[in-house]
Symmetry: C2
Subunit: 192 residues, 2 copies
């Protein structure tokens, strides 16, 4: 078997999409690649570095898609970010768990802050606002994937009664836009 970092990362993503993060071990990954676990350590220093590579790979996909968008605004960034995160099961957890300043991720962070500046956000607030926007999308996708996984563990019935037919994760696109609106209007309201 001829391994390289790319094929290992892609195999890892396949496993994630089948069984989720907790089923992804160096051993199951090796087995999927028809290789021994120790071999992976020739290509990655450790599991953390592999996870970092996955986050970076996803970030590069996002960068590539963004490059094709002209006059990209913050809405489009948020939507593309969400879409690409959704393509990899448990990606929000992976992003939370890894070092964020790899090349393509840094590009995204810088772009996000630039687009916020275009929205009128003061320079002193950029890091907080950027973090908050990032956290919003990550948490949103995490909730979506959690919801998709356990259609069982829902709200207890007495609870559900109180909030009938809401715009919720059953209407995920609408709900995402609503959340995004809150954030963007909030940004603008606090900069005026």
């Amino acid at each position: 078997m001829k391994l390289d970092r790319q094929t290992i990362q892609l195999a890892a993503i396949s496993l994630l999409n089948e069984d989720g993060l907790e089923a992804l071990s160096m051993r199951t990954l090796a087995k999927a690649l028809d290789v021994k676990a120790a071999s992976l350590y020739f290509h990655f220093k450790n599991k953390d570095e592999l996870m970092e590579g996955i986050a970076e790979l996803i970030s590069s996909r996002i960068s590539q898609r963004l490059a094709k968008v002209e006059n990209c605004d913050f809405y489009q960034l948020a939507h593309i970010l969400r879409e690409e995160l959704k393509r990899v099961n448990d990606s929000p957890r992976i992003f939370e768990d890894t070092y964020p300043f790899t090349p393509n991720r840094t590009k995204l962070i810088v772009l996000g802050m630039k687009l916020m500046q275009d929205l009128g956000v003061d320079k002193r607030h950029l890091t907080v606002a950027g973090n908050m926007g990032n956290n919003f999308v990550l948490s949103y996708v995490a909730d979506e994937q959690y919801f998709a996984r356990d259609s069982q563990r829902q709200m207890p019935p007495e609870f559900a009664e109180q909030f009938p037919s809401p715009i919720d994760l059953a209407n995920p696109d609408e709900a995402f836009n609503y959340g995004l609106d809150i954030f963007i209007h909030g940004l603008q309201a606090t900069t005026k």
Copy 2:
């Protein structure tokens, strides 16, 4: 040794505050309690149930504090939530990983939604807005605790240059209020 769920949960919180979540195993916890790992399974079905108990314990602390506040508004809920989460290292991760509808947590969710309704949020939007508010505080505390842990792994210097002297996690209280303002003003702007 006379064990019960409370003492086990408190010992677990102590370990979290010393070495963080990844150092908390059933075995290290048992050792801290001067007992064997198998004993813990008399009191908790499994590790997940223990984690759920910890989240519920933190939620009960929050409930107790809130009970003493008269005319509680959404700001105060957010601040007390943040403060109590900060008392337990890696608590945001624990909240994300566990079933949310335990008794005291459910009380907090219902209260949060009520306070949002007071703010003028439409009933149809309550679940999304509630989730978003919850995610905001959890992510914020997670970032604070991450920042406090690795004072090393900072922004790379070329990056830091672009954003001089921001209101960021080095001014955590100010930054939290700024983020909270964004959220609340955004809520109000999208309900008008």
